[in-house]
Structure formats: structure tokens, C-alpha cells
Amino acid sequence: MKEYLKNTWQALYTVIVGMKITLKHLFTPAVTIQYPDVKTPLPERVRNRLYVNIDDCIGCDQCSRACPVSCITIETVKALPGEDLGTTSNGKKKALWVTKFDIDFAKCCYCQLCVFPCPTECIYMTDVYEFSEYDRRNLVYHFSNLTEEEAAGKKANFEKFQAEKEAQKAATAKQKEDKNPS
């Protein structure tokens, strides 16, 4: 009988204790963050989407070689002797047209290994992390500031120059051969 009454009392008492706790939580402010409207501040050295400041890029290909998943593709064309490509912000002279600088973020593993070798510090991590796409191909970002025609033009120019050089070389060689036949 004593046990029975004790059980009854305990049941009621514990329910009231539990209800007190939930009532307290009813009036504590929620911990939810209304995500798209409110965002938590990111840590200082957070690693997210890469950005390439193409004006500073000298096309040295070091980031591409450092990448463990080969997500960076760089194609360069040598500048012609007469062309002046200007200098980078830390005073390095640019000698290459960067005709293609693609980063495939579907492959990127955000390891930041490409950032350290860059001699001009033109590739770095930003704090953008919302860049999902419906099509995987849209995740390939093109950083080169040359349009495709321009790039093709540069390539053609260089090839022409190369061909001319070859021709010249051949011509001089032939001249030499003509001058002193063995």
C-alpha cells in the first residue's frame, strides 16, 4: 500500500518536474539560425571557393602542378618580342599570355595547396561557399580574361611568329649551306 501511494506520488511529481523543464525551454530563445537570411560569421582562415586575380598571374603553372586532384588547367602562349604585357603588382614582368585558366570546382578539394606556391599571390581562397549548380559543367570557372577569339589570335600570332622564325632559320641555314658548300 505504501509502495502504491509512493508510485502514484512519484509519477505525478516527476511529470510536473518534466513539465517545468519544458516550460522553461518554451521561453528560452531558439538557437535556430534563419540560414539564408542570417549567416554565421566564418572563421578567419576558412577555405572556400578559389579566386584568381588574372591581372597578376604570370602563367607559371605552379598551382596546377601543386593541385592533388588536377582541377586547375592552364594554357599559356609566349608573348611576341614586341609585346609588353606589363608587370604584376609585386613587380614581376609578365612574359606569357594566359589563354586558359580553368578551375573545376566539382573536382576541387579545397586543400589550399595551390595557394602557397604562387609567386605573385594571385590565387587565393575567398569566403564564398554558396555556389551550387544544377549542371556540373557550370562548376568549371574560367578565370582567363582573354576571350576565345583573342586566345586563338594570340596562338595564331605566336605560331606565325614561330613559323617565320623557323623559315628565317631555315633560310639562314640554307644561305650558310650555299655560301660554303662542302
Partner: protein, 355 residues
């Protein structure tokens, strides 16, 4: 209201149908609010926010859900007993809807002033069991069947303490009419049955603890009758998917949901009528002091709805506080604890009332 409509249309069927539409609309509006409230209460008790993006604090969420539900395909399992399967949700909803006929919302708004209102509500709410069993059996699914069996066992068991407490209150008040029970507890809140009833004297003070016991038993057993947590073993989602309405989809599922919330309201209103004076104001009426007669029923409606919604809120509060009971624990609570206390209470209140 019925009489006025009858004079207008001189057709019993049309006027009855129009009158019946009023509680239906009320139930729908209340369910819209209650479902939103439930989600908000549950969210805030867990330090979340709940729906926030539809309207102000997500108040349109239920409407959005309802539109989604109406658009859903009405699937019927291939092996289901189609007739019973289709009748079951209607029957369940009819059971809880019919209970609203006898509930006095205020002294002016009563569906039917029947003398045996309390008896009628207890009887008609048992119809829900039949509907649930039907739903569980016709679905031809083990989870549904288990849920229906559990539900039947639970509702039948918990009807005994409910009936015993109702008997106690009937013995004390001397009437089965819900309107008369409400009228007895008029004027101030110390006249409520929870505080020993309207008659002032020694008996009132002796009765207070026993009324409190009766109130607690009534609340627990009605909570179990509407299958709410901690007594929600018929639809225990972690064990039985969704219990007896596992196979239902779309609007039929919606009817089960609607009847659950309608039942919550009906049961809460009975508790508030029996113990907290129903539509009676705890502090007297503004309409009486100002001499505006038509204000009184509106005030009564306000008090009735707020008392009932308070109990609905307590039901939600309990839901997010207590874990679900095991089947044997459920039966222990009913047969070993609630019924003996209810019987003892019945005898004591009977003796005190008699003396």
C-alpha cells in the same frame, strides 16, 4: 438558429445541413490554428523556431500543407478491403464531429440542448474506436492492424476511469446536461467544481482534494482516449510507422488528422465544463456590469474557448515532455492506478454529497 433557418426555408434537411456546417467550419478553423500551434509549441520547447517562412511566423503553413494534401494521390492498397477502407476515416471524423453537437460554447450557442449531453458525448466518442478498428483491419497491413488493436484496447480501458469520473461529477451535480452543469458553476471561480462546487459550506472544503483527484484522473484518461502522447501507442511512429492510418494518403489521412485535433478540443471542453465551469467567466461579466445584454454570450464564448485551448495547450505541452508508455505500462496505469483511485473517489464524493 435551427428554428430561424427552419422558418426561412421550411425544409428540415436544408436547415439541418446549414446548421451542421457551422461546427464543421469552426473545427476546420480551429484545426488550422491548433496544428500551427502544435508545431510552434513543439519547436519552441526544443529551442527551435518551427515553420517561419510562410506568413508571419509561418501561420500559413497549415494552409499550405492542406493544399498539398488535397493535391495528393488517393492511394488504396491493392489488398485492402476497399469499402471499409473508404468508410473508416469518415466514421472516425463523424464520431468526433458529432460530439460537438452537445457542447455548450456559450449560453446562446449550443447545437442541441439535450438533457443527456454527457452520456451522449461518451457514447458517440466510442464510435471513433469502431472507425479506427475498421481502418486498421481493412488496410491489410501488420502495422495498421497492430495499431488498431492497441488503440481499441487502450480506448476501451480508458473509458472506464473516464466514465467513473463522469459518474462522480454527475452524482455531485445531479444532472447529465452539460449546459446545466455549466450554469451551476456561475459567478466566480471559487464556484467551479474543481474548487468544491457552488454550495458554500463544510462539504465544499472537504471536497476540494477529491475534486482535484477527479480532475487529474479525468485529464489523464481523456488524454489517453484521444491517443495523444504519452499514450500514443496506437500510432507510435517509431514502432508502427503511423499505426492504424499507415496506408492512408491525401485527404483521408487529413481526416484522421482533423479528427485527432477535433477530439482534442472536444475532450478539453468536457474537462473544462465538468471542472472549470465551462463557459462561465471566473470574474463576472463585463456585459452585466455595463448593462449590455448581448455582450454576455460573446464573453462566455471567449472564456469557453480560452479554457479549452488552455487544455489543448497542456496536451501539447505534455506531448513534448513525456516519452511514450509501453503497452504494459499503459495498462498498468489504467487498471492498477486510475480505476482504483476513481472508484475510491466516487465512493468518498458520494458519501460527502449524501451527508
Amino acid at each position: 438558429m435551427y428554428q430561424a433557418l427552419y422558418n426561412l426555408t421550411s425544409n428540415t434537411i436544408i436547415s439541418t445541413l446549414i446548421v451542421a456546417l457551422v461546427p464543421l467550419t469552426l473545427i476546420l478553423l480551429y484545426a488550422l490554428f491548433a496544428i500551427w500551434l502544435e508545431r510552434k509549441v513543439s519547436a519552441h520547447m526544443q529551442d527551435r523556431l518551427g515553420p517561419m517562412r510562410t506568413g508571419w511566423h509561418g501561420w500559413l503553413q497549415t494552409i499550405a500543407d492542406m493544399i498539398k494534401m488535397i493535391q495528393k494521390e488517393d492511394t488504396i492498397a491493392a489488398d485492402a478491403d476497399k469499402k471499409l477502407f473508404n468508410i473508416a476515416p469518415v466514421l472516425v471524423f463523424a464520431g468526433s464531429f458529432a460530439a460537438f453537437a452537445a457542447i455548450p460554447f456559450s449560453s446562446a450557442i449550443i447545437g442541441s440542448e439535450i438533457e443527456v449531453g454527457l452520456f451522449y458525448i461518451i457514447a458517440i466518442s466510442s464510435l471513433v474506436v469502431a472507425g479506427i478498428l475498421m481502418a486498421g483491419w481493412s488496410s491489410n497491413n501488420k502495422y495498421s492492424l497492430l495499431g488498431a488493436m492497441r488503440s481499441a484496447a487502450q480506448i476501451v480501458s480508458y473509458e472506464i476511469p473516464t466514465a467513473l469520473v463522469v459518474l462522480t461529477m454527475v452524482m455531485y451535480t445531479g444532472t447529465l446536461s452539460l449546459d446545466k452543469i455549466s450554469q451551476q458553476q456561475t459567478a466566480y471561480f471559487w464556484n467551479w467544481n474543481l474548487f468544491g462546487g457552488p454550495e458554500f459550506g463544510l462539504a465544499k472544503f472537504i471536497l476540494i482534494p477529491f475534486m482535484l483527484v477527479a480532475f487529474i484522473i479525468m485529464f489523464i484518461s481523456t488524454l489517453a482516449e484521444v491517443n495523444r502522447t504519452p499514450f500514443d501507442i496506437p500510432e507510435a511512429e517509431s514502432e508502427l510507422v503511423a499505426g492504424y492510418f499507415t496506408e492512408y494518403s491525401g485527404m483521408k489521412w487529413g481526416m484522421f488528422m482533423l479528427s485527432e485535433y477535433a477530439n482534442m478540443f472536444a475532450v478539453s471542453s468536457i474537462v473544462s465544463i465538468l471542472f472549470l465551469g465551462g463557459y462561465q467567466s471566473p470574474f463576472g461579466y463585463l456585459g452585466n456590469t455595463l448593462g449590455i445584454e448581448w455582450l454576455v454570450p460573446i464573453e462566455q464564448l471567449f472564456w469557453f474557448v480560452s479554457k479549452t485551448l488552455f487544455f489543448v495547450f497542456v496536451q501539447m505541452w505534455l506531448r513534448w515532455t513525456l516519452p511514450r508508455l509501453r503497452v504494459d505500462q499503459l495498462m498498468t496505469v489504467c487498471w492498477k492506478y486510475l480505476i482504483p483511485y476513481a472508484v475510491a473517489n466516487l465512493i468518498i464524493v458520494g458519501i460527502v454529497t449524501l451527508l
